[in-house]
């Protein structure tokens, strides 16, 4: 018998107290029935919504679907995936004619960068392209999630509806996940369809598995940016500022991140001394570059999309290099590739969960008013 048990009388509160033959008078309707917890009965009983986040995410998802940013991103990403593919067709045909007996021709669709005409300019491959643009996708659907509601004046109204406060942030996050899942699946499907129709190559079961798994890794990577955007939208009051900070971070990490980590790595572990020491320094430097989610995603993508990759970590000793050099090049099976990138995935999930947790806690503690 707890004091805070949920009181839901099984009969309507306005049921007349008299016999059924008596017409219910207004007085009878107003006569409050005693409820065990002291609640004054309402005129109409209705169940308390238990899944407010689903209503919120349903609305947010619909909003995203019809938003300009969704359509723009879809067109830009779709074109950006298709146009290089058009040029890549020749590269892939050449590559396919050279390799025999290996089951990764379909994966070339994602891993081979096209060369534009005779200029010799190498465009990024599809996966590299997504590594660059993916974060934008995450940010675009989250940077104004909470502060936009604040600026609109809709947050107090939303929170005064019978939902829990976390339903709002959970619903928005869920809607963001759904929309990025949709966009990424669409792009991968477009690339795959292009390969099947234009090049006439059909994926094997393992290739399908690899692509699906790569899609999941990409989804995790973009979710990381989604939760980062959500965090900014909670912390920063103005949507414009949070967009600026998010895009700034993206630029910094994607284009200058490598430079920065190299600098820091070179400072902390300069490559000097004996070969063994140099190998050790290189290994330390690699660990530092892995502080960037971008590095994690690149390593993971390569290992999944290219069965030839047998190691993602530089050996820490000279012996390790010697061993690696002696290894007979062979194709990794799907589960071996997954084992290679498992830590990367866990790290990405952890980072995304960390950002979301901070956003969640801050949102729960924020005052409704500014």
């Amino acid at each position: 018998m707890t004091a805070d048990s949920t009181p839901i009388p099984s009969t309507p509160a306005f049921e007349p107290v008299q016999g059924p033959s008596d017409p219910p008078t207004p007085e009878a309707a107003r006569q409050p029935r005693r409820r065990e917890d002291g609640a004054i009965p309402s005129r109409r009983e209705r169940s308390v919504p238990h899944a407010g986040w689903m209503v919120v995410s349903g609305k947010e998802f619909a909003d995203h679907l019809w938003s300009a940013r969704f359509i723009v991103l879809l067109i830009v990403l779709g074109l950006a995936a298709l146009i290089p593919m058009y040029f890549a067709a020749d590269t892939i045909r050449n590559a396919a004619s050279q390799v025999t007996g290996q089951s990764s021709i379909f994966l070339f669709l994602f891993t081979l960068g096209p060369t534009v005409g005779d200029t010799g300019v190498q465009l990024p491959a599809a996966w590299e392209f997504i590594a660059i643009v993916g974060p934008l996708l995450g940010i675009a659907f989250a940077f104004d999630a909470v502060n936009g509601e604040r600026a609109n004046g809709t947050l107090p109204r939303l929170l005064s509806q019978p939902i829990y406060r976390d339903d709002v942030i959970n619903g928005k996050f869920a809607a963001g996940l759904a929309i990025i899942g949709l966009v990424l699946t669409f792009i991968v499907a477009v690339i795959a369809a292009f390969g099947i129709i234009r090049l006439g190559i059909v994926p094997s079961a393992e290739e399908l598995l690899r692509i699906t798994f790569w899609l999941i890794v990409t989804f995790l990577y973009v979710s990381l940016w989604l939760s980062f955007g959500l965090l900014l939208s909670v912390l920063i009051r103005r949507a414009a500022t949070s967009a600026l900070v998010a895009f700034g971070t993206w630029l910094l990490l994607t284009f200058f991140g490598g430079l920065i980590t190299q600098l820091v790595g070179g400072f902390l572990a300069p490559v000097t001394g004996t070969l063994d020491q140099q190998a050790q320094s290189l290994s330390v430097q690699q660990t530092i570059t892995r502080l960037l989610p971008d590095t994690l995603y690149r390593e993971a993508s390569l290992a999944i999309l290219n069965p030839q990759v047998s190691a993602v970590t530089n050996p820490a000793t000279l012996g390790g290099y010697a061993q690696a050099a002696q290894r007979i090049p062979s194709l990794q099976s799907f589960d071996q590739s997954i084992l290679l990138v498992w830590p990367h995935m866990v790290t990405m999930v952890a980072l995304a969960a960390f950002c979301f947790a901070i956003a969640y806690i801050r949102f729960m503690r924020q005052e409704v008013r500014a």
Partner: protein, 368 residues
């Protein structure tokens, strides 16, 4: 009797038992004496306090709003009105004290409270890329109102606030006043027992204000709602509210009906107005002499222009009737051309000014 057992709730494990079986247990927990059949007030607070660090936003507030009345919270900006409202909705936790809304503690059971309380926030906003109707539909979905029931409720609410013909426009095309009306409709969708309105009429044009206030009045008389509204527009509050609470620096410095407040803050003075037909300055002087001579009149204010009303302060207030008769008698005996004489109810503005002044004085004394 149908069992309510499949109704899911979150975070709470306890579930309603069959209503009949637990009556005895309920009776023992009920704090009120049996036989007291007065319905309990839908809004009650006791010692409700909210502090932001050093700042005391709401200071030991005791408030009751009964079903079927409109209670006006009056106060300057920053006096703690909105904070009080947020605590009543469970959107902010009180530092101290208790609130009961429809008999429930909003801090512990916010969902049930919010299901039954309609709230119009200060500076209400809507999703600008959705139509007014779609905004209301979203609210209905959040309240889990079945679809066809919701459509009826939406139509009715839009009708009530006079937005039916603009309901399918995007809300970005709405004026401030229309948003405010839509906000009221939004609060009515869930058919609430309690309506809490924060500055409901600020941006609405004068004719619209009358409509809205009439609507509130009909909700109270027909549906027995309890309405708490906050405002700084004194004449509107005076016009529509059954009882008024005056708020200053987080404290309720006076509450009651207009008569109660006038009695409390009137400093035992009443006002009588009289109009005379005077032709020249000599006439005006004569009127002044006559009026000043009446016993009980403490102050005579001549009209600012021409033949407008003279204002007489009467103390003690009980002498007001006698003073009016004396004015009549004096006019007839001295041959002055009296055109009207009447007693004037103190305006809320006056009461409010006095209450705030008095509270400020009291506060100064406390500090000393």
């Amino acid at each position: 009797m149908t069992a309510p057992s499949t109704r899911p709730t979150r975070k709470k494990v306890g579930r309603a038992r069959s209503a009949a079986g637990s009556d005895a247990a309920a009776a023992s927990r009920r704090p009120r004496a049996d036989g007291d059949d007065r319905p309990r007030a839908p809004i009650r607070t006791r010692g409700l306090t909210k502090k932001y660090g050093e700042l005391v936003a709401v200071d030991h507030l005791d408030l009751e709003v009964q079903a079927g009345e409109i209670f006006g919270l009056l106060g300057q900006n920053g006096a703690g009105k909105t904070t009080t409202i947020l605590m009543l909705l469970g959107l902010t936790e009180p530092t101290e004290g208790q609130a009961r809304v429809v008999g429930l503690d909003p801090a512990r059971r916010p969902l049930e409270v919010k299901r039954r309380v309609g709230y119009l926030p200060d500076a209400v906003g809507f999703y600008s890329d959705m139509t007014g109707r779609d905004n209301l539909r979203y609210t209905a979905r959040l309240n889990r109102i079945p679809r066809d029931e919701a459509e009826d409720a939406i139509d009715e609410a839009l009708e009530q606030v006079g937005l039916t013909n603009r309901a399918d426009d995007h809300t970005e095309q709405y004026s401030r006043g229309m948003l405010q009306r839509l906000g009221i409709a939004d609060a009515l969708i869930k058919d609430p027992d309690v309506l809490i309105l924060d500055e409901p009429t600020t941006a609405i044009d004068p004719l619209g204000v009358t409509e809205i206030l009439d609507l509130l009045r009909s909700l109270v008389t027909e549906r027995q709602m309890a309405i708490l509204l906050s405002s700084h527009l004194l004449n509107q509050v005076q016009h529509v509210c059954d009882r008024i609470g005056i708020f200053a620096a987080g404290r309720l410095i006076g509450q009651g009906t207009m008569t109660d407040l006038a009695h409390r803050f009137g400093e035992d003075t009443a006002t009588v107005e009289a109009e005379f037909q005077t032709d020249d300055a000599a006439g005006v002087d004569r009127v002044r002499d006559v009026l000043t001579a009446i016993p009980g009149v403490t102050n005579v204010t001549p009209p600012r222009r021409g033949n407008e009303a003279w204002s007489l302060s009467v103390k003690p207030a009980a002498d007001e009737t006698r003073v009016r008769r004396s004015v009549l008698a004096a006019a007839s005996s001295t041959g002055l051309d009296l055109t009207s004489v009447r007693s004037v109810a103190p305006s809320l503005e006056e009461i409010y000014r006095r209450a705030v002044e008095r509270a400020a004085h009291g506060h100064a004394r406390d500090v000393r």
